[in-house]
Subunit: 406 residues, 2 copies
Amino acid sequence: MSAYHPLNETEAIEIARKLEGVFAPDAQLACREIGDGNLNLVFHITDSASGRSIIMKQALPYAKVVGESWPLTLDRARIESEALLLEGELAPGLVPVVYLYDQELALTIMEDLSDHVIMRQGLMNGTRYPLFAGHISTFLARTLFFTSDLGRNQQEKKLLARSFTNPELCKITEDLIFDDPYRDADTNSFEETIRDEAQALWNDGELHLEVALLREKFLTRAQSLLHGDLHTGSIFITPESTKVIDPEFAYFGPMGFDIGAVLANLLLNFAGREGWDKTDAGRESYRAYLLDTVKDIWSQFEEKFLALWNEHGVDRLANTAPGYRENYMERLLQDTIGFAGCKMVRRVVGLAHVADIDKLEDASARERAQRLALRIGKSLIKLNRRAVSIDQLIDAVNSASAAAKA
Amino acid sequence: MSAYHPLNETEAIEIARKLEGVFAPDAQLACREIGDGNLNLVFHITDSASGRSIIMKQALPYAKVVGESWPLTLDRARIESEALLLEGELAPGLVPVVYLYDQELALTIMEDLSDHVIMRQGLMNGTRYPLFAGHISTFLARTLFFTSDLGRNQQEKKLLARSFTNPELCKITEDLIFDDPYRDADTNSFEETIRDEAQALWNDGELHLEVALLREKFLTRAQSLLHGDLHTGSIFITPESTKVIDPEFAYFGPMGFDIGAVLANLLLNFAGREGWDKTDAGRESYRAYLLDTVKDIWSQFEEKFLALWNEHGVDRLANTAPGYRENYMERLLQDTIGFAGCKMVRRVVGLAHVADIDKLEDASARERAQRLALRIGKSLIKLNRRAVSIDQLIDAVNSASAAAKA
């Protein structure tokens, strides 16, 4: 294969045909480019005779977001592919299978998950996923534990961290999550109706201190290999199956950033329910389901993480020092709550929003959802260093919700 | 020059002669290998006619410590050389000038500092260095600030951190400082007279928790480029000049580890004074000088670091969030105190000791010094997370000293 160039559909089919053990040699392959063209080309290649299909994802050397375009390293394809492979080893069945990675073409060929839906859409539709808390807590516990100094040879971990050095994509997070929403930045995007909320964010010194501390953790705490962008748009789901995709933001950072991302996106849907349910009872019931899921994810994560630590802990002193586990898990909960708050705030006033809220057609419901999301987000950020139990997060959400109604 | 092999003196002279602008073409060069042969060859090359001289340091592919020998990457020569160059840019005059680095030979050619003495020996001799606190606080403030996310482009910092990935030398620290002294490890080394002290270390759960937390910071906190081994044996000194040498342990870690190393080694000399001074008054006077120096180093470091932050801070939120600076400096002080304590304990019961204590000929003075060093070290470790002022470190030293006399 020649040097890098964006593939067309014919070339994609040629490459697919050469994959070993996927398609029959004489298969009639159909190809459709289904990406949104912002960051990557995504080819969906199918063989209707056998029913087999694959996804080919090729990184583009630029990013387009809201009309802007800037150059972006193709190395993110390597990072994504290597992260998927490692996550697949550590949490089998919870990420798509990778068939091939071609470095020169910045191309990853992987399992087709067309029978799944994007979880964000599923939640907007009001679908319940009773196995999700179990799946995602396993994914989090196993990927975070086994890439940390608690669960991996500490010299190997350093070499792994080196290979996941990811400055360009980290910068996107540093700017869009940990800076811009807290100042009057050009990149911010919000409706005029909530300008008062945005201005309050820019002038809240107590909030700025907490965000600065969380930003520092994102910049300096090489705890584990993170997915780095674990929102509900990075999860393919069915009631039976959960698949985490798109780890191109992977790098070694604070564990709580990944856990917090999952919780934040459930809570953004919680806020968005201002408009999604047909009845008040339906809304309250789905919100209760979301809060139960939030609590389950943390509780199951904690239990699984501690079980892995008991069985596979490699750090003698961390294993034996009295009180260390409790101290560690408490700090992890605090980080989770703080990062969850940051993830919520940026989705209302920052560059990138979520459909759970933005797709609400009723302007008044949308505004209520935005204000509620901000209220929850800010209260989690301010809670973070004081938290000792996941119940405090649930209480903060309920209080914010009650205050929003008052 | 051919592939790697340990040089002999004739080869060293040949290489020296080719350096541009150092020696005259027809200079009569003399060469003497002055290393201790444990980790490196060190050639001292002189031209008696011009009075010029240089040092050539070549890494050996193994380490010998206390009879044991294990293979060690030659990449540490690259790390040492690159760290010296960067430290020289950031803190001019406070490290030896590097003339040449030859990667293939793992060879660094640098300024000869034979007119300086190793600071540890100077302190044992009772020499006072009134400029030292000023020099070392400048070195620490400038190297730590400008390699951190506060003072350097955060994407460049990540690439720099990648190039200073240093797993082998970090492991030496992780084992010898943050693990072995707190268990009955084969590598430990102490006199039978203080076995009670060693056993107390192995059974002190409160201490283990604090050491585990400090160990975690060493493993995960990529705050700044550290020297990584900044004891008084890594400092060449005269009353007018201070030169920091031997940064082969350099990596991105917690700032307090470097600051704590300096303070710990002054305090080890404080403990060692049980035997070095001719009179009680002489001892008390020198101890007061050492404690003044400890306090001066922290105070001047803090002042200089904050001044750099004011003038060169690159992180908008860190620059503006109310209370963040105070929070940051308080945590840095706490880390400094904790790491200082760990550095003291390991020098009494761990593998590598210090001459300030071990060279005391009087067994009773030596034992008193060892017990005092441990008492101070343990109290600093237990103080660390509660500390809010450098005066608490000074008080802890004075209390330990008084308790040891009682």
